[in-house]
Amino acid sequence: MTSDSQIKSAANHRRTASSVMTTLTAICAFFAVTILALIIGYIALRGLSAISFQFLTDTPKPVGEGGGIGNAILGSLVLLLLASVIGLPFGIAVGVYLAEFGDGRFASVVRFVTDTLTGVPSIVIGVFVYTIIVLPMRQFSAFAGGIALAIVMIPIVARTTEEMIRLVPTSLREGALALGAPQWKVTTGVVLPAAASGIATGAMLAVARVSGETAPLLFTAFGSRFFNVYLDQPIASLTVQIYNYAISPYDEWHAMAWAATLVLMTLILAINITVRFFTRKKI
């Protein structure tokens, strides 16, 4: 027999355990957010002082002459655009294949390869692109940089697209099939729109991820001190510029590295907000 006092003590124990666990998880969540806030706050604190109109628009200059990161901002945007144009359709197509037609042996090989590719250090991809594109072309180029970033993006986009498409309920597909829709129209007309916001989130994460990549660009886009939009020429990027400023021995350049970091983070935030705005649930 269970007495009243036993029931009460069991209930007390349960309440205590519950509140302890809630507190623990809340503390962890608080620390995670605090660390993020500290990083952002510190970058803003160190970087804000060096930001000026000239800094945002000028090209790099020798120490003591000021200069800026205008060409690096432009270069980063060109590289991201190029990487997205190549990597997103490619990755989404792979994801659609895996989710809609991926039951065979070939698909499981593809899935394994994409998973492995996700884990390959990005510098390896940089060296790879250096070998297959930069060496034959005999020069560093924005094109090579874009390819390298696209290769980093493809597995991320492919797997998130696959996951998102798998979340679309079978009942929707059957509904469309039952109306006489052929398979490809079900995929393009019903499944992809239903998964669109999830796929866009995955694409956005991939873009945000590669916009912070430095290693694949060192051997490919290389960097440049000039404004450039030609894809066969070396091109500057924020990450490589930050790296160059940060490893220098000069305090002035260190400040510029902080400021460039702040710009990069703002850029990523802006991309995030834009994509979220366009893919918000309209219906």
Binding site: E174, G175, A178, L179, P182, K185, V190, P193, A194, I283
Partner: protein, 285 residues
């Protein structure tokens, strides 16, 4: 309830003689088969190695409501889905035997599945509106099959379908709103409208009211009786009262076999088979 429509020749009066006539027709497979809208002979169905349907033979004549009843897992949904080849989408399934619609073999190699599914519409157990607007949901089948020429015809067909599904008055002012903003019962009627829009000849309904409250169920049932004038309707239901209310004929499935087909009236008062009687009176199932 079970009074057959006098407008159509193939519907036979629910008498003993008619029942016997149909049974013999099924056996010698004469002109009766050509007269039926949907005609199935010796249908076996397999999920991998497991046989889900055993030698099903059944005729459904035009413009009636046929209800499939039976306990869960008896194969009635599976059978329904063989009629518009929805089971093709499930890997590892196999069909043997013959299904004819208007005398054309559904499983013949040259059959256009897309055209078949336009002629044989389907409404599912769980309402499955696309995450699009109300209008776009109904227009979907018309658009993909290119059944309309021009905007005004499309609008007319959408209105016609929504009217037939008894949904038009409730949604006519918000056709652009998301289909997901509708209530459960409205969503199911939208799915019916979507199926009606392509003007199918046969409509398959897989427990269309099982997830709805009694009011919404009543609306769907009234709708089914109304739609019988234009379409042949085959409905799977768990709810025997529902079968009794809406159908002209009832087929009882048990363990993948078709036990009995009869007029609904007779089925629920004096069935031929002992097994049917036991199920209907609630002795098992």
């Amino acid at each position: 309830m079970a009074t057959p429509t006098s407008t159509t020749a193939p519907v036979k009066p629910p008498t003993d003689a008619a029942q016997e006539e149909q049974t013999s027709a099924l056996q010698d497979d004469g002109r009766e088969r050509a007269a039926a809208k949907v005609s199935v002979r010796d249908l076996d169905f397999f999920y991998g190695r497991a046989q889900a349907l055993h030698k099903i033979s059944l005729d459904v004549s035009s413009q009636i409501v046929m209800a499939f009843i039976g306990p869960s897992g008896c194969g009635k949904s599976t059978f329904l889905r063989t009629l518009n080849r929805m089971n093709d989408t499930i890997p590892g399934t196999r069909v043997e035997g013959s299904v004819q619609i208007d005398g054309q073999d559904v499983y013949a190699p040259g059959t256009d599945v897309v055209e078949l599914r336009r002629r044989v519409g389907m409404v599912f157990q769980k309402s499955n509106p696309f995450p699009k607007s109300i209008f776009d949901n109904v227009a979907y089948g018309l658009r993909i099959n290119k059944l309309t020429s021009g905007k005004s015809e499309l609008n007319d067909r959408v209105e016609e379908a929504l009217t037939n599904a008894a949904l038009w008055p409730e949604v006519k002012d918000r056709l652009k709103a998301s289909a997901l903003s509708l209530s459960g019962g409205q969503q199911q009627r939208l799915c019916i409208a979507r199926a009606l829009a392509v003007r199918p000849e046969v409509i398959l309904m897989d427990e269309p009211a099982s997830a709805l409250d009694p009011m919404a169920t009543q609306k769907i049932e009234e709708l089914i009786v109304e739609l019988k004038r234009q379409f042949t309707i085959i409905i799977v239901t768990h709810n025997m009262q529902q079968a009794a209310r809406v159908s002209d004929k009832t087929a009882f499935f048990w363990l993948g076999k078709l036990v009995e087909v009869n007029s609904t009236e007779r089925m629920f008062t004096n069935p031929n088979e002992k097994l049917t009687e036991d199920y209907i009176t609630g002795r098992f199932g």
